[in-house]
Symmetry: C2
Subunit: 496 residues, 2 copies
């Protein structure tokens, strides 16, 4: 362990939290190299004076109203984020669920220092035309080695929304290919498409769900239905939107009711497809998140997702799973949809965030038949795939899926305990792996608790109207849960 | 100069091209550090056997039909790209116009090695919520120091298409704010927007041009009208599309005709805005490239762009300039629109490619009024801004705009010479700076010339139906032009 990191630990030792000192013994050996402090350590409220100053400065250049605090990334290690005012917080939001191994992970630093990787960082290729010599090998080791079962093809992209939209394109192309009986397109198809006109630009749609979030460009945003901030003033396609199940908790007490709710939503999906067909708009595919994250961590059971797959198979349309937030291990399986035991693989699986690179996996029949169909200048970035290689290697070597499953079980049981202790404050504790959430009586209470948690050293995110979401790293351990729970309990106890 | 680079030069010395040896003396001192070979050096046809093998391997994972060759980026230096078969080509395509300083530029390598930058490469932040402490400073030095005159605000994004779409959103927001008389939105506005419905999701449009290319996600693609490969099978918004001027060359012989053509197109813009208004679709802005690149390097004069600005001002709508391909110096000015002497700054200027990061500049009144309006998880990447800092520094220190202007003048005169020598093969030589193009009698002839050039060591790109586009780096020099011209001349002379 580097001297600077030892000093960092000592400096950040939370004198007010003697418990942390003992708990560190529970950590796995690998944690020792991460340079984590023993626990949170707060110097100011958040945002502190330096953050506030910087927010004002940034506000001269762009809208800075969404900034929560400025970060000293050099001083952040493992599960702890350090802000510019010297506050050390346990991070359960992880850059909106996009940090798999914590901050400044040694293996990612080593990848950056490795001279063999330098070229990937300084020469960004147009990957679809001029890929680097090791590109197929890197795709294999980073992406195909963790491909969802049954999917052997992958296309990289720069970010989540592009990944979702190019997945939609794959659905559209496949649908139209079938509509043309696998005959080549006519000249009229080709020329009309260039001018946004039918038959080349057909009236196709993607069916999405209320409470879904899939991205911020027009096609992905057209499938997103959470907050007006994302949508107001922007033209949107007239595509069908069905209800997503609103399950009642605890699940074991509402098995029959929840099954009926899921069947109601499945029936609505069928109805909307038919309703749109009658008005001349044809659904080419269904897009769904395994857990509606931005929308409030809304879960559905395997029954619902199996039913969705039945519908797509009956209608010969595609099923696109958006694993941008759920993918890469947070649920204890690499892909969240693996929890459902689907009869067949889904057709498209989009990813980004913790995966470092955007992209989507797809079935063979969804491969573009011509060049330049799924394309842009960069289609991703080898530098990010270099980083993903490290992420995947560490996940496998340290069995971080098993860690996330174990830590997740512990976290869920502790959340349930807390809910029992504060029944008027907390409800609907839920989760898979460490991908957990819990509800509050109102937006106001939720927001205040999030703020109080932050000011006591626990940084986490809100979702939906009155939920918080826990999105720790994959190196989150039992002793981190204990720290979280101590502070959470104190915040709820002191809540006024 | 490192020994390996000296050896690299000796190894690649083109024995068949003695002329290159003398010409190297013309290069500026800075070129000495770039490790460039003396000229192209071909060992096989392109793609060679190793590229062909790798194309087949990649084809098992994804559609690899657009791959021209696999690249040995480690061995590529300055203006020369080296493929996996050991072919050294003078690169005038530069990863679809996205390499400003050539391959493995020492200053970019140094930035990567600088320990102060490591954190930016291994910790990717959610920039709108948790920016790094130096973010405002980096935006200043990398982006605002080269901001288009009159624009002081900037928003980063991951890639070109996201930059264009978020620029469109800024146009939509500003239009609707005016429509609401700057009153806050109603509850109906907010709730309807979430469900893709009016009034919250209004029937707004962006007017675009035939032959335009702006990106690959639905909103940007709705404004793109070049090739069916980009568009076929995908639903598209019904937005107005006007003609872009088709100028006759040489420009000095057709001043009156070209003026009339531009006025015809401007009148069509007005007509389309009105036509759509009558059917209840309101144009919130016009998007235009300074030079339609993908569409065939179509130029218009300052008169046309000044006229477009007049129209946007009359209609109180926005003018969005897409500088994704033209920006960052290729025309001899940092931004191509600076050649037009617009009366006022444009409202939005989108960038990406050579700028390393995507993003857009905008006028103050186009700033979002609320947080989370222009937003996604990453909104760009500090690692790319670190690289852009180097690009901007080198452009300024070495006066690469002046270099590009000078080299461009020389390149243009040589293209005209070549056109005079081969009047049946070449026409419409055109360009600003080194951003040049020339036409061939047909697609077939053009494609064959591009192939023959490549096999003799000059790698360049096609655009439109029968043009080639020259997109060299900003360190492209007179002696590179000479090498290009010698080979171009030989290819045309031998053309059968």
């Amino acid at each position: 362990m580097a001297l600077s990191r030892v000093l960092n630990r000592v400096r950040n030792l939370p004198l007010s939290m003697g418990h942390a000192r003992e708990r560190v013994a529970l950590a796995q050996v690998q944690q020792d190299d991460l340079g984590e402090p023993f626990g949170p350590f707060m110097k100011t409220e958040v945002p502190g004076p330096i953050s506030r100053q910087l927010i004002e400065e940034l506000g001269q250049i762009q809208n800075s109203q969404a900034v929560q605090f400025f970060v000293d990334y050099e001083s952040s290690h493992g599960n702890y984020i350090v802000d510019v005012d010297g506050n050390t917080m346990l991070d359960l939001f992880t850059q909106i669920s996009s940090v798999p191994l914590g901050y400044n992970h040694p293996s990612m630093e080593a990848a950056l220092r490795d001279p063999h990787n330098m070229s990937a960082f300084v020469n960004r290729p147009a990957l679809s035309c001029f890929p680097p010599k090791d590109w197929a090998r890197r795709l294999q080791s980073a992406l195909l080695s963790v491909a969802p079962p049954g999917l052997s093809q992958v296309q990289t992209m720069a970010c989540g929304t592009c990944s979702v939209e190019h997945g939609q394109k794959a659905l559209f192309m496949n649908y139209q290919r079938r509509m043309r009986n696998y005959e080549p397109p006519t000249d009229t198809d080709l020329t009309s498409s260039v001018m946004n006109e039918a038959p080349g630009s057909p009236p196709l749609a993607i069916l999405s769900f209320k409470g879904a979030f899939h991205g911020r460009t027009m096609g992905a945003l057209g499938c997103s239905h959470t907050r007006w901030h994302h949508k107001l003033d922007f033209p949107a396609p007239d595509w069908p939107i069905a209800s997503f199940p609103a399950l009642k908790y605890p699940l074991e007490d509402f098995v029959r009711e929840n099954r009926a709710e899921e069947d109601r939503c499945l029936a609505e999906v069928r109805d909307k497809i038919e309703m749109y067909r009658r008005k001349g708009v044809f659904v080419a595919g269904i897009i769904v998140e395994p857990i509606q994250a931005e929308g409030g961590d809304n879960h559905a059971t395997a029954h619902f997702f199996q039913g969705l797959q039945d519908i797509t198979e009956e209608h010969e349309i595609g099923l696109q799973i958006d694993e941008v937030q759920t993918g890469c291990g947070g649920t204890g399986k690499f892909w969240a949809f693996e929890h459902w035991n689907l009869r067949n693989p889904p057709d498209i699986v989009a990813f980004s965030k913790k995966m470092q690179t955007g992209g989507f996996y797809y079935k063979n029949e969804y491969e573009a038949q011509e060049p330049y169909r799924i394309f842009n200048t960069w289609v991703g970035d080898p530098a990010k795939v270099v980083m993903l290689e490290q992420v995947v290697r560490v996940i496998k070597e340290q069995d971080l899926l098993e860690n996330t499953k174990k830590t997740g079980n512990y976290l869920q049981s502790m959340l349930l305990n807390l809910q029992r202790e504060f029944p008027n404050m907390l409800s609907k504790a839920r989760g898979i792996g460490t991908f957990c959430a819990i509800d509050f009586p109102s937006t106001e209470v939720r927001d205040k608790v999030v703020l109080n948690l932050k000011n006591r050293g626990v940084h986490l995110g809100a979702c939906g109207t009155h939920s918080i979401r826990l999105r720790p790293t994959l190196i989150f351990q039992q002793h981190h849960v204990d720290i979280l729970m101590d502070i959470f309990q104190a915040v709820l106890r002191d809540f006024k």
